[in-house]
């Protein structure tokens, strides 16, 4: 993918993340008002298509966004180039999406 397309993809994923972060924080602050424990949270998230999709999308956006960002940092500050740069960027993506997907699975499934 060209540098410009990576740049665009990073902007688009940022636009996806922003409202989801606000939703996450908003719901947390709202839901915590009357006191809440993990069992109660899980009872609401488990089996929920809405929360599964929201957090799934968020995790995907974060993984793409962060992998591209770290790619730029490695390029500019550590002079990584070419194939090595691509391999590391993909690795960052795979690690993040795996960790994120596990977390989403744990609260939704």
């Amino acid at each position: 993918m060209s540098g410009f397309r990576l740049y665009l993809l990073q902007r688009i994923t940022a636009m996806i993340m922003a409202p989801l972060v606000i939703l996450h924080l908003g719901v947390m602050i709202f839901a915590i008002q009357g006191g809440l424990d993990s069992a109660e949270i899980l009872s609401r998230t488990q089996g929920s298509f809405f929360w599964g999709t929201s957090y799934g999308l968020f995790v995907l956006a974060v993984s793409i966004h962060a992998a591209i960002g770290i790619r730029v940092v490695l390029f500019e500050w550590a002079s990584f180039r070419g194939v090595l740069l691509n391999i590391i960027s993909w690795l960052v993506f795979v690690v993040l999406i795996t960790m994120g997907a596990r977390a989403v699975y744990a609260v939704v499934a």
Binding site: S2, G3, F4, L8
Partner: protein
Amino acid sequence: MQESTDILEVGVWRGDVTGGQLVSYQVPRQSSQTILDVVTWIQRELDPGLSYRFSCRVGMCGSCAMMVNGIPRWTCRTHVQKVVQDNRLTIEPMRNMPVIKDLVSNMDEFFAKWKLAEGQFHGRKTRYDPIEPLLPDSPRRLAASAAIECINCGICYASCDVVSWNPAYLGPAALNRAWSLVNDERDIGQQSRLNAIAADAGCHNCHSHANCATYCPNELNPTASIAGLKRLAARAAFAGKI
């Protein structure tokens, strides 16, 4: 004018492509003295072998830029009084450009990037066609005007960290030039310009940290021009044009 001390301690970078170091000179201080005056005084009075570049001495030609106390400046229009620190000055060749000798930097690549960014005008008319009317207050003409007064001094380019990290990056001056032509209604080379500014060395490398806009002596704003190019290229990408 009240002067704090009569003698300036000036460190001037002397050397060539193989390396060099700062050499100290004592220069008498004068009223309304510019950095270029200091360098000229050293060459005339102390060391005729000192190489540096200037032409107009009035901020028109863009040939006299040097690093002064670590900051790129047009030396003919920079007063000693404004930049001196503890009576000391350090004068070095431009950052982000290879040196030729002493204070003379090699601007070949800087200008090559103007061409790479499609900084040349592509007209569609000949001398036999009537002159095209352009409304002075049309939005595109105003956008072009905001970017047009560049004197090619390279100060923005020397101040840009992204150029130092990614030597292929086209840089603020070339992209600012491309933006002024994007807004030129007479230009028919917009597709090739679009390809050039969205290529790997193009506008998206800019981090908008605005060093270029801070130091441009003509108070241009390459950061804003590059932001315009980013928007343009993004729209073109969604429209499938790049």
